[in-house]
């Protein structure tokens, strides 16, 4: 279980105040809110890239608020600039496993399983720069899933995709969520588009 208690984060004129959220095991949350209300900041604060000015983040009762991003085991997938352009598709997916020094045989098995699960076999020989938006997003999701994160944060996972790719990825995310029993928190600026994406909605409000 991931628990966010009265989280606050501020820099310059911007301030994120008193955000509390409890994500139970296997739950799929969608974060909604007007532009500029701090959805991305919240995701990046949970991932550890912004130091919170108040509150705590608990993962299975363990306080990770002061931990570095690489120690939290929280996955983060962005909508743009998703894949490492200088690595192959396989290199992208196994990146986290290599960073964690997972034995080569185990890493290969995990990567092969994710390639099968996400249907990426056809794009393996292609340079990352030539992948379509949906394919690149699937590679980025596979890369994040390879390290078995306790929470997967998706920052606008469906933006920058055309209608068909969006529908496909939406179904893919729902299927993965069920199969892998993941905790998800996705951020989407368009409420209409988020319908059916997750099981729970969290709405952030902009003050002023």
């Amino acid at each position: 279980m991931i628990e966010i208690q009265h989280l606050g984060c501020s820099f310059g004129d911007f301030a994120l105040e008193d955000v509390s959220l409890r994500i139970g095991k296997g739950e799929y949350w969608v974060l909604l809110g007007p532009s500029g209300c701090g959805k991305s900041v919240l995701l990046q604060t949970i991932a550890g890239f912004f130091p919170p000015t108040a509150g705590r983040i608990l993962v299975d009762g363990r306080d990770v608020t002061a931990q570095a991003p690489e120690q939290r085991n929280i996955g983060l997938v962005f909508s743009r600039r998703r894949c490492f352009p200088h690595l192959s598709v396989r290199g992208n997916i196994e990146y986290g496993l290599r960073a964690r020094r997972v034995p080569a045989a185990e890493a290969r098995r995990t990567v092969d399983e994710l390639i099968d699960r996400l249907g990426l076999a056809a794009v393996l020989p292609r340079p990352v720069a030539t992948l379509s938006g949906g394919e690149a997003q699937r590679v980025a999701i596979a890369r994040a899933l390879a390290v078995r994160p306790v929470l997967l944060l998706l920052d606008e996972p469906l933006s920058a995709l055309d209608h068909n790719a969006r529908l496909e990825l939406q179904a893919e995310l729902a299927r993965l969520h069920k199969e892998l029993d993941l905790n998800h928190a996705a951020r989407d600026p368009q409420p209409r588009r988020s319908g059916g994406l997750g099981d729970f909605l969290a709405v952030m409000l902009a003050d002023g």
Partner: protein
């Protein structure tokens, strides 16, 4: 747009400033009894002095152009800041660094004023062009100047090839391992 006379005045002032600084450092190092002036080390120091801004500036720009999101993604996958630098930032900035290094090298090889003042021996190509011109005129200095020109042209061509070839090389997928 800066007028041409203004640019030439700026270049003149920059050049004289470099020369004055070089003379100052030469004097300073000599006062410390370090045999820099007139040695290979002196030539290298003078060339580094005039060329390093090209490398530093382009390297800074190259690192600034690396998308922050890729570095964040790397760290969220468990890579430390150092590992992120070696595996993500440096490879993605390498093209810019290579361009900067080539420009700096081209700048260093063509440096004349600073080397003449700081360490005129061993003789570098631009200094040799100058001394041969003074000794025997254009006919003797021309072959060396042409050689310098060919080297600079070759560097320019390699730079253009490098810019088109390197991104492709970086993106080329590695051969898949057989199960």
């Amino acid at each position: 747009m800066c007028p041409s006379w203004c640019r030439s005045r700026w270049l003149e002032s920059r050049s004289s400033c470099c020369s004055a600084l070089a003379a100052f450092w030469a004097g300073f190092l000599e006062s410390l009894h370090l045999p820099i002036s007139g040695s290979l080390a002196g030539v290298v120091i003078a060339q580094v002095f005039v060329a390093s801004p090209f490398l530093i500036k382009t390297t800074m720009t190259a690192f600034e152009s690396v998308p922050v999101r890729l570095e964040l993604a790397s760290r969220s996958l468990g890579a430390s800041p150092a590992a992120t630098f070696w595996r993500i930032s440096l490879p993605l900035a390498s093209r810019g660094i290579m361009v900067g290094a080539t420009l700096a090298w081209a700048r260093a090889i063509s440096e004349f004023g600073c080397i003449v003042l700081f360490a005129s021996s061993p003789v570098t190509a631009p200094v040799l062009v100058h001394t041969e011109f003074l000794r025997a005129g254009v006919s003797e200095s021309r072959p060396i100047a042409v050689l310098l020109l060919v080297i600079c042209l070759w560097v320019f061509v390699m730079l253009q090839f490098g810019q088109t070839l390197i991104p492709f090389a970086l993106q080329r997928p590695r051969r898949e391992r057989r199960p």
